[in-house]
């Protein structure tokens, strides 16, 4: 008994000490993505004299990246690493415009159906092999190969033959990807896609070192095996603990890169991470604790970045009672979005009335106002009664799942209370990010899950195609032929107005059937130490071009 007591006491003591060191809660996606490129991004001119001797950036990744395989990663946490150790055809500047990356230049045909990317011919992989157009073709063929089962395969569906090959009815030979010249990559699309070039900054389109992938299988992304072509070398990966990147000396532009080392930690308690930030142990923290938001907003290190994203709760539409659209609508109507923003998120987010966020071209045309900022309790109750659960009577308990984070937990308890108000009882469960992604995708027991989506390219298509029947990122088990058709038709729409009209139809179908319940449109508040120069989280994928960062004297 004494032994046990002492053990507990010891544990309490340790926990108390840790608690004393840490403090703060935050909310936001554990997602952060980085894109290389962006040379001239808002760096203030600095003399060598202003630079710190130790060019090391300590950045909290918040979670173990689920996958560092460019073809398989689906989340911003993984992408933040991938985008700094691999290089795609283009980078993006802070305004989302493409800059030369692995491709020195590119042209599109007049009909917008053929893109030609010209590689430099001098770039190499970290093992000395040249970077060629075949590396891109290999990657794109692999991500589309049904055997790879990549969630992001649908991103490539506009390439000729891609959907058939991925669906198992076509062959790799029929793909519209031509790499006959090692320095020229020619891509043929089925329909014009104005976002195609900027989209090349997305990790799904990054090249892969095929020989390495074949040799090591799913262990190829371990530091001992990996071969990269980006500005940083992947040096260490202590799983669930930390990641170390160092500048790759043979990178094309290595001489102009100041930041030498990036240490990434995986602290998922915002409170602890912010305490570490305030102690100067972390330079960048992108998930902030809700309880401390008013205080943190006053700090000079508080930075707000624009972002294109939606925070939502998805419903497993095959799981009773969520298979009833009336129940899903009732739950969506019962939410006071503005109260969640005012009391938890607290960073000037907007209550989401539909899926596609403001800032996306055509937003004003597409926006649906089915969901109000405040709760429509009476309507929600009426719908619930229609569904056969008057005041929640007979309603099975709903389980909300979220990935481990204080902010997500706070929102889940708010939702729990609001659903209780219409008679629906809720339990809340959480899992670590990697396990969570696997769970919501593969376990049919999932009921309600929280998720966020940050744009991969600035078009509503990117948000809406998530919920296509065959989208690997659609965890709702929902599919609608009309919805799919509107999106497919949008690809061959005559002009923007026609395209937006089709998007509007798709939004309408989604709000009629409510497979997901949008909560708010993201903003991206980060804490960045004042000595970190050039840090910018991009609106697309919250990407950060680490190589433009400089550490100032401090």
């Amino acid at each position: 008994m004494d032994g046990l007591k002492r053990t507990w006491l010891g544990v309490i003591l340790v926990v108390a000490l840790v608690a004393a060191l840490g403090v703060v809660v935050g909310c936001g996606d554990t997602t952060t993505t980085v894109a290389p490129g962006g040379d001239s991004t808002s760096t203030t001119a600095t003399d060598m004299g202003d630079l710190a001797e130790d060019q090391t950036l300590a950045l909290n990744l918040s979670a173990e990246p689920p996958s560092l395989d460019p073809n398989l990663a689906t989340d911003t946490t993984s992408a933040l690493v991938i985008n700094n150790i691999f290089e795609g055809l283009v980078h993006l500047d802070n305004d989302g415009n493409p800059l030369p990356g692995a491709a020195e230049s590119w042209e599109s045909s007049d009909d917008g159906l053929t893109y030609t990317f010209n590689l430099r011919g001098t770039d190499t992989w970290s093992n000395g092999d040249p970077v060629t157009s075949m590396d891109f073709k290999n990657s794109w063929t692999r991500i589309l190969d049904p055997a790879t089962a990549a969630d992001y395969a649908y991103m490539l569906y506009q390439i000729v033959g891609a959907e058939d090959f991925n669906g198992g009815t076509g062959t790799a030979d029929a793909l519209g990807i031509d790499a006959t010249d090692p320095n020229t990559l020619v891509v043929t699309l089925t329909s014009p896609a104005p976002w195609f070039v900027p989209m090349m900054n997305h990790q799904a389109f990054f090249p892969i070192p095929k020989a390495t992938v074949d040799a090591f299988g799913d262990k190829w992304t371990e530091p001992v095996n990996i071969v990269t072509n980006g500005p940083y070398s992947f040096v260490e990966w202590n799983h669930d603990s930390d990641i170390l990147l160092t500048k790759w000396a043979d990178f094309r532009e290595a001489e102009s890169i100041t930041l030498e080392t990036v240490k990434m930690s995986m602290i998922n308690e915002e409170t602890t991470a912010v305490a570490a930030f305030e102690n100067g142990e972390i330079d960048v923290q992108d998930a902030l604790p809700t309880a401390d938001m008013p205080r943190l907003k006053q700090l000079p290190q508080y930075k707000m970045f624009p972002t294109l994203g939606v925070y939502y709760y998805g419903f497993n539409t095959k799981q009773p009672p969520l298979d009833d659209v009336k129940v899903r609508k009732a739950l969506a109507l019962a939410i006071d979005r503005q109260a969640i923003i005012d009391n938890i998120a607290q960073a000037d987010q907007q209550a989401a009335s539909s899926i596609t966020p403001p800032g996306i071209p055509g937003f004003d045309v597409m926006v649906q106002d089915f969901l109000k900022p405040t709760a429509q309790v009476d309507e929600a109750k009426a719908l619930l009664a229609e569904a056969g659960f008057p005041d929640g009577a007979g309603m099975p308990e709903i389980v909300i799942y979220h990935n481990t984070s204080e902010g997500h937990a706070a929102i889940a308890t708010a939702v729990q209370e609001q659903w209780k108000a219409i008679g629906v009882n809720v339990t809340i469960k959480n899992m670590e990010w990697k396990q969570y992604l696997d769970f919501v995708q593969n376990n049919d027991d999932v009921m309600v899950y929280r998720m966020g989506w940050i744009a991969d390219f600035a078009d509503a298509y990117n948000f809406l195609e998530l919920f296509r029947t065959n989208s690997g990122n659609n965890y709702t088990r929902w599919g609608s032929a009309d919805f799919d058709k509107a999106l497919t038709d949008s690809l061959s729409a005559a002009d923007d107005a026609a395209r937006w009209d089709l998007y509007t139809q798709a939004e309408k179908i989604a709000s009629d059937e409510m497979p997901i319940m949008p909560i708010y449109w993201y903003t991206n508040p980060d804490l960045v130490q004042e000595w970190v120069d050039g840090y910018f989280a991009q609106p697309l994928g919250n990407q950060v071009n680490l190589w433009v960062i400089k550490i100032l004297k401090h």
């Binding site: 309490i12 004393a20 409170t271 008013p294």
Partner: protein, 316 residues
């Protein structure tokens, strides 16, 4: 032979326990009873008395606290917009409000119910398992004892916290899994204690006599031996409870405890910790409740041990 205190205690205890005891020794009756001794000795122990009153207060607070204020424990700003999150303690909200605007006076009382319930229930389970196991091993002795005690040794070797955490991860959060997780790792010490006592007691002549009269094993254990270990068991119980409260708080603090909107002192401390920097009272209050309760249980347990043990000197 003079009536040795321990022998006297034994007799009296059995009689108090409702057994007809017709030995009818007026001599014994004239002397102070064991229970009387215990109460007298205990009441002279000021620290133990104070601790007992504080504990009673905690229990009363947990019981009636939720009815003293107009809000329910899960009523926050999302169902009652008049509530404001993170209020400092004030006239309306005596302990302030939490991140959802829920009244902390009510939540701490509800948390007390859960924490104390879990602690008492887990202690009960532990004692039942531990006492049965220990008395069987001790009474049967020999090879059986050897095997049973080596099994206890093996379990002792397991690290408590990871073991409890794994159990909770498998069973999921909730009151019953929490009880099991705490009980499974805590019954070992009581079982050893009781076994040791059994080994000593079974050498006594009255056991020999009972056996000679043809009493069954069960009768000997339950009528003769266990009553004599009751004192030790009571003390063990009081010392076990604070371990359970801390155990529950630890597991809840680690996020494995009662899930929202229910609360225990551990989950309230965990929620408070997240607001430590900006709203420190949110962790201070549950912290104080846990610490004070644990301390008081220890004082009361020590007090009883001293009071029951007749060799203890009387304290003023």
């Amino acid at each position: 032979m003079k009536d040795e205190p321990i022998g006297k205690g034994v007799k009296k205890f059995t009689s108090v326990d409702g057994e007809t005891f017709d030995a009818g020794e007026p001599l014994v009756l004239e002397q102070s009873t064991l229970l009387g001794d215990v109460v007298r000795r205990y009441s002279h122990n000021r620290a133990a008395m104070a601790a007992l009153f504080i504990l009673l207060f905690m229990i009363i607070y947990s019981t009636v606290g939720p009815w003293l204020r107009p809000w329910s424990f899960d009523e926050g700003l999302y169902s009652n917009p008049s509530l404001i999150p993170y209020q400092l303690p004030n006239l309306a909200h005596w302990f302030g409000t939490d991140q959802n605007g829920r009244d902390l006076f009510v939540r701490l009382a509800m948390g007390g119910r859960v924490s104390l319930l879990i602690a008492f229930a887990a202690t009960g389970i532990v004692l039942v398992i531990g006492v049965l196991y220990g008395s069987l091993a001790g009474f049967i002795g020999g090879k059986t004892d050897e095997v049973m005690m080596r099994f206890v040794d093996v379990l002792y070797g397991l690290p408590y916290l990871p073991f409890a955490i794994i159990l909770l991860v498998i069973l999921g959060a909730g009151i019953v899994p929490m009880l099991l997780a705490l009980a499974v790792v805590s019954w070992l010490t009581p079982s050893r204690l009781v076994r040791g006592q059994m080994l000593t007691l079974k050498q006594n002549e009255y056991v020999e006599a009972a056996r000679a009269l043809g009493a069954t094993r069960g009768r000997i254990i339950f009528r003769h031996l266990l009553p004599n270990t009751l004192g030790i068991i009571v003390v063990a119980m009081f010392l076990e409870v604070p371990g359970m409260i801390l155990g529950e708080a630890t597991l809840s603090f680690l996020g494995l405890g009662i899930s929202s909107p229910d609360a225990s002192w551990g989950t309230l401390a965990s929620e408070g910790w997240k607001a430590l920097r900006s709203h420190p009272w949110m962790i201070i209050l549950p912290g104080i409740f846990i610490a004070v309760t644990v301390l008081c249980f220890n004082f009361v347990g020590d007090g009883f041990r001293d009071a029951i043990d007749p060799r203890t000197k009387e304290t003023k």
